[in-house]
Symmetry: C2
DNA sequence: TGAAACCCGATAAAATCAATCGGGATTGCG
DNA sequence: CGCAATCCCGATTGATTTTATCGGGTTTCA
């Protein structure tokens, strides 16, 4: 199970923008200055904008803003907007793709894993990342 | 975050083998009979064998066995052997790939997520899947 | 000896990812 | 006004990964 660079670049950009919150628009060039491919990052920022995570100012001296406080943005939201939703198997959510329909042992498994991964990623805010909050080991107790 | 078909096919095969435990070797053709591409599945069974999850009997009337009781095989193990380890970012485990070395806010995040996903998948045995155990929602309480 | 089966590296077709290109639209500033 | 800075966006290209298929080799049973 891998993540593409999109999510990594997007997180990088969001961290940058969160740190510059309130300092006016940050240009693409500025955000990409530590070596990220500029035009590629532009695509990702477009996705982040469409997801409502950043706002933009067009024209000269324009750039990108973080749209909300870092505490109100989750890692899950950032990754989903650039990588698409967590999708471990087509058969979850699209019952037509599986001949067996809903009565499938693995289907429940994929749904369960998907759910938990989403919860995990939505449980971490951008602010947590900024503060390098010491992530405690989660308790995995089946209820 | 996607999973390739490898993991899905492998899980399918393992479920099949678990159900046939004690009934003698199951041929590739038999395992693939519900429409999985036979020669592709063969590659995956090779990986499962190298991971110690199945054993094989060569020659005529040969085939594949599950190597251990289903209760002792986890979903994580199956997926890892066919998809490779969970890898959200190169920088976890390979400090050389990141110029900042260990002092990186995102690095800790990736490590944390990787850890939790692994725990999640290792917490489910093949037997749980067979029994279609009603997965309770896990409690995500940071300790 | 021959058929059934696993074993395995090489190759090929398709899909996805990563990045670039080329131009268009918007806006601040002199 | 005119120009430079900047965001916007669809198309294209090259690399990589995924998903197989192929062609053979080896093992074993009858």
């Amino acid at each position: 199970m891998k993540l593409s660079t999109r999510g990594q670049y997007a997180l990088h950009a969001m961290i940058f923008l969160a740190r510059k919150a309130g300092e006016g628009p940050q240009s693409l060039k500025t955000i990409a200055e530590d070596g990220l491919p500029e035009q590629y990052l532009e695509q990702l920022l477009g996705a982040l904008r469409r997801a409502g995570l950043v706002t933009t100012v067009r024209g000269a001296a324009g750039g990108y803003h973080i749209a909300r406080p870092a505490s109100e943005i989750t890692v899950g939201h950032i990754l989903e907007s650039t990588e698409g939703p967590v999708n471990l198997s087509e058969c979850v959510g699209d019952s037509a793709s599986c001949a067996k329909g809903a009565a499938c042992a693995t289907r429940d498994l994929w749904a369960y894993l998907t759910d938990n991964i989403n919860q995990l990623m939505q449980g971490i805010s951008l602010q947590d990342v900024l503060q390098n909050k010491p992530y405690g080991a989660k308790e995995y107790t089946n209820s």
